[in-house]
Structures are given as structure tokens and as C-alpha cells.
Amino acid sequence: MMNKRATLFLFLPVVCLLLSSSALAQLKVVTTLTDLQSITSLIGGDKVDVFAIATGYQNPHFVDPKPSYILKLSRADVFVTVGLDLEIGWVPPLLNSARNSKIQKGGDGYVDASVNIPLLQVPTSASRGQGDIHVFGNPHYWLDPQNGKIIAKNIFDALVRVDPDRRSFYEANLKKFNETIDAKTREWTEKLRPYAGTKVIAYHNEWPYFEQRFGLQIVDFLEPKPGIPPTPSQLLKVINEMKRDHIKIIIISPYFTTESADMVARNAGGKVVTIATSVGANEKIKTYYDLFEYNISQLIEALR
């Protein structure tokens, strides 16, 4: 009898420990981009452990599907993707080898962050003759901070599906995120209001959501077609456009080299501004909020 009681007393703390550790366990989340990682962290707080596959200074169209990512995905509770075929070159081989049904399309842990996003540039016909076009619409939607709220809601829904006990915690964070992003959007819009309608040139067609939100006007690209490197004839066309319309700014992402943009700027009397497409593009951009703070401050400095 004593032995049974002793055994019970010995096991009780172990059971309690196991129960408490499972209660404290963080959800493992894998996101394709750092922006989704940042938003997930803001909603999930210390209840989630988030890993982003691509870095903030990497071209999200071209990421190598390294086997080490398969290992991360095999243990994930939630997987968050931009969708709209942005990651079509590298997410399918990773998911196919992940051996994890929770995060496959249709699983509770699968999050297509683009759901309910009002999409821009949805083509009415699609041909690869038009370059690297996206048949579902332009996928760079996270560059409008107001779309961040829709992304956050999609992530919130998945966190609640997988971890319903912490619903109120996630809900409070979602509310806080929405309030912050609203307040900051007002602030950022005000800062850029004096420059509304300013014409700019971009390297690649990845700014329509940013452009729409903050009132810039991107009139041409250094790429003749999406994904096709700049050609001499295209660069000449852009130089003439810049001279004719007094365009002073070329915006470029960190993963494009600046040679062609520099050349155009030299010949047209403009300047090249490198702005970030993702969190982590440089040391100053640690959160989703920082992404816009940085980009807007860079643009204002250049436009002044």
C-alpha cells in the first residue's frame, strides 16, 4: 500500500510537469517571408516560435528549397505563405517532402495570407510572353500596411484553429495590432501627403499596393517586362521619360544590383533610392512597422 502511494506521489509531479510544459509549449510556425514572421510574432507573442524561410534582403521569387527547410516544416504546427504563386518555385517541393499533413493545403495549420486581400493587377489574360506575370494578381500585397490587418486576421484564424485555448490572448494582440497599424498608417500617409502624385520609376513591378496607399505614381520600370533584366532600349526609354517628365527618383529593392539604375540616374539627373520590400532588409527594419517607417523616411529624404 505504501509503495503504491509512494509511486503515486513520485509520478504526480512528473504528470504535473508534463501537463504544464504542454500548456506552456510554443506553437511552431514557419512563414515564407519575414513580413509574415513579424506579423505572426505580433499576434502570437511569446506563445509562438516563428521561423522565416526567406531573408528580408532576398528576392522572394527565387529561394532555394534547401532540405534544412524541410526539417523545419516537418515539425511546424502552422505554415504561412504569401500565396498567389509568389513562392511557386520553392514552396511546393518543400511541402511535398515535409511529411506533415497539418500544414498541407487544406490542413488546419495552412495559411494562405492572401485570402480576402483586394488584389491589384489581376490579368484578364495570361501569357509568359508578358514576362513573369502572376495569374492571380500582383502578390506584393503586404506592402500596403492596411493589408497587414487582413494578413493578421488570416494568421489569427489559423492560430485559433490550432490552439483554441489561447483565443483571447491572440484576439487581444490582433486588436492591438489593428489599432497600431491604423494609427501608423494615418501618420505615414500624412508624412507622404505633400508628395502625392509624384512620379517615380521602379526596377521591378512590386510596389502597386504601396503606390496606391501612399499616393506615389510609378510610371515605368527598368525591367522591360516583369522578371526580364533591363535592356539597353528599355533603359534609354526610361532616361527619356525621366528627362521629359522631370522624374527624379528610381526605387529599387535590396536584391537588385544598382548598376543599371545608377546609369539611368546619372544620365537623367535623378537619384536611386533603395527601399525595403521585407522586414530584415537591413538592421534598422526589425518589425512590420519598421518596414514602412524606413521606406517612408527614405522616400521623404530623397523627395525633399
Binding site: 532555394d64 534547401k66 511557386i88 511529411r99 498541407q104 488584389l119 498608417t185 494615418r186 500624412e190
Partner: protein
């Protein structure tokens, strides 16, 4: 009359009471009104600060469907070879059709049909290269594939020709298997091996009937072949990786006895993350050992090796070089040694042009040299290749 008087009095009293209440409210609610006004002003300012963007009506995601991914890949070649009857040639080497889709929440299916040049007749002939059902939801980090596939022997064998950077497969692939490698009909089980150092380690075991090649044949009387592979993958830095693999195979050969094979593969890749479309470097080597039992007392122990390097110096341009040494599985006395140089131009990922020069030294025949131009062109949705 009394009724109308009463009503009039009530109305007058009501109006007086309302007027009094209003006057009282006006006195006591000035502050509250100011706050309300302020709130209204603020909300109007807010409404002005986050302009409601007029969205075009959301276009339906019309391409969403349950249709499988379909793709076609063409491989056209033009060649000059210093020996043989047809020194200069132009030909469609192969056309591949791929159909892939998720089957249900538990599996996916992949089919690849080819229409390739028959090496014996020179004519185009149809063939089935891949037909697999692959699980997506097995427990314990397991994955099962059933059907026809390219077994995971070494690094090259799992590739299809269009996915390999050089125009031809290494000599060891050609001499020990076939110009396109080894194919198997059977089952493949792979397992992500948990390990204390938390690196990617995958063990694959495959069992089935091999499509007859130089080393192994489709066994009679229920004889099966076995292939195993252990893949170890390490992230050295953010920009560089190392893969080390060990392979083994065992199965019946043409003499009715068995062949045993072993292999080691080593791949180093460097690609700067920030400019990953502009620069890259790959060094890859494989070593293969073969032990073919020819009769009761005799066995042929041979080996083959290749080492290749490829450097991408601009977004669309690559150069590469390869060294090959390969014996033949059933003849210890024969061997090929070859040196290859490659230039590759890739306007987009859907069109790849390559020019390759190769010098081959044979100890059983005339040495040869050849130049091959290849253009790969693809349409449709083709699944991305493994890293």
C-alpha cells in the same frame, strides 16, 4: 370641452418641461458637447487620413481548379561527333509531358511520359518515365512512394536530363546504368532521421524491379532489386551548403547472378542569398564501386567517378567543366576518360541554351571529340526540382 382643455394643459406643461430640460441640459453639457464635437472632428480627420481606396471589384480567382499541373518540355539538339556514321546531326532528343496533382489529403501523384530518341533505331519512341503515388501524411516522418520512379542512387540518378546542367549525364551513369540513368518499379520509403545535431538526414530504401540496364536487370522468377541512400545535408553558412550521400544497390544482373554497387556523393553549393539570381557556384562529385558476379567463381570489380564544377557569373550565364573516369561493370579492361566544357545561357527559367565540348579517351576504341548544342524549352506548370 373639458377633454380639450385638459389636453391643452398637458401639452403646455409638456412643452414647458421640455424647454426647461433643454435649458438645463444646455447649461450642464457644454463640456460633454465639446468632447463629442472633438471626437467627431477627430474621426473625420481619421477618415480623411486613411483614404478609402476604391478597389476594382475583386476578380474571381478563375484559375483555381482541381485540374492537375500540366507541362511539356522539349529537348532539341544539334551535334558534331568526330567518329561514327553521322558526324553532324540535328534532332529532337526528347519531349516530356508531366502531369502532377494532389490526389486527396493523403497523397499526390506524378506522371511523366516521354517521346524520346531510341538509341538503337534513332527514331522517336514513346515511353513512361515516372508514375508515382506519394504519401503526404504518414506518421513518424515517413514518406512512401509507389509506382515507377528513378531510385535515389547517388546525386545524379534522380534527375531527368532537362534538370541536369550538362548536356549529357556523366560517363558512370551511362556505363553503369543507361544514358538516362536507372529506373525502378516498386516501392520507396524514406524517413527523416532524428539526430542530436539537428541536421537534415534522410534515409531512403527502395525495393522493386529494375528496368534492365548495364548493371542490373529486371529479375526473373521474382528476383527483386534493392537500393538504399542516406542523404546528409548541412548549412555551412547562409550562403553555402554541403551534402554528403551514401548509396548502395543490389540486384540480379545479366548473367543470372547478382551485382552489388556502392556510391558516395559530395556536393558543395555557394549562392549569395542577397543576389541569388546573379551568382552561384556548385562543385559536385560522385564515386561508384561495382562488384558484378559473372559466374560461380569470377567477379568484376570496377569503379567510376566524376567531378564537376559550375560557375554562374551573371544572371543568365554559366560556365562549367567536368572530369569523368568510368570503367564498365562487366569488363575490368575497358574504361573511358573524358573532359567536358560547358557554356550555358538561360534567358528565362523556361528556355535554356547550352553548348558543350567533350573529349573522350577510350582504351578499347578510337578517341573522340564532340560538340553538342542543346536547347531546352518548357511550357505549362512544371514542378520545381529538388535542391
Amino acid at each position: 370641452m373639458i377633454f380639450y382643455r385638459t389636453i391643452s394643459v398637458i401639452l403646455v406643461l409638456h412643452c414647458v418641461a421640455l424647454a426647461g430640460a433643454e435649458a438645463q441640459q444646455t447649461d450642464s453639457s457644454t463640456v460633454a458637447d465639446s468632447l463629442l464635437l472633438l471626437q467627431l472632428q477627430r474621426s473625420m480627420q481619421q477618415a480623411a487620413a486613411i483614404p478609402t481606396i476604391q478597389q476594382a471589384p475583386a476578380a474571381p480567382r478563375s484559375t483555381l481548379s482541381t485540374n492537375p499541373d500540366l507541362s511539356a518540355i522539349g529537348d532539341f539538339r544539334s551535334s558534331y561527333v568526330s567518329v561514327g556514321k553521322r558526324k553532324i546531326d540535328l534532332y529532337l532528343n526528347q519531349l516530356e509531358f508531366q502531369v502532377s496533382s494532389v490526389v486527396d489529403p493523403y497523397a499526390r501523384a506524378d506522371f511523366m511520359f516521354s517521346y524520346g530518341k531510341d538509341l538503337n533505331t534513332g527514331e522517336l519512341a514513346p515511353g513512361l518515365e515516372i508514375a508515382t503515388l506519394t504519401s503526404t501524411s504518414l506518421p513518424y516522418q515517413l514518406q512512401l512512394a509507389l509506382g515507377k520512379f528513378k531510385p535515389a542512387f547517388g546525386k545524379i540518378n534522380i534527375l531527368h536530363p532537362h534538370a541536369f546542367s550538362f548536356v549529357d549525364f556523366p560517363k558512370l551513369t551511362e556505363n553503369y546504368f543507361s544514358p538516362e540513368g536507372m529506373f525502378m518499379e516498386g516501392a520507396s520509403v524514406s524517413w527523416l532521421v532524428p539526430n542530436p545535431y539537428d541536421f537534415f538526414q534522410e534515409l531512403s530504401l527502395e525495393i522493386g524491379r529494375i528496368e534492365s540496364n548495364a548493371s542490373l536487370v529486371r529479375g526473373e522468377n521474382g528476383q527483386l532489386s534493392y537500393v538504399g541512400h542516406l542523404k546528409n545535408f548541412f548549412d555551412l553558412t547562409q550562403n553555402s551548403t554541403l551534402e554528403l550521400g551514401f548509396s548502395g544497390a543490389n540486384g540480379p544482373n545479366q548473367t543470372g547472378f547478382s551485382s552489388k554497387m556502392g556510391g558516395v556523393d559530395l556536393t558543395y553549393k555557394w549562392k549569395p542569398v542577397q543576389y541569388n539570381v546573379l551568382q552561384s557556384f556548385t562543385w559536385q562529385s560522385e564515386l561508384l564501386f561495382s562488384n558484378v558476379r559473372l559466374d560461380e567463381t569470377t567477379a568484376a570489380k570496377t569503379h567510376g567517378v566524376y567531378s564537376l564544377a559550375e560557375y554562374q557569373f551573371a544572371q543568365r550565364w554559366f560556365v562549367g567543366a567536368r572530369y569523368d573516369y568510368s570503367q564498365y561493370p562487366d569488363d575490368v579492361g575497358r574504361r573511358d576518360v573524358a573532359g567536358t566544357v560547358l557554356f550555358r545561357f538561360q534567358p528565362t527559367e523556361f528556355q535554356i541554351l547550352a553548348l558543350e565540348y567533350q573529349y573522350t579517351d577510350r582504351n578499347y576504341d578510337r578517341n573522340s571529340q564532340g560538340v553538342i548544342f542543346r536547347i531546352i524549352f518548357g511550357i505549362g506548370t512544371h514542378a520545381a526540382h529538388q535542391y
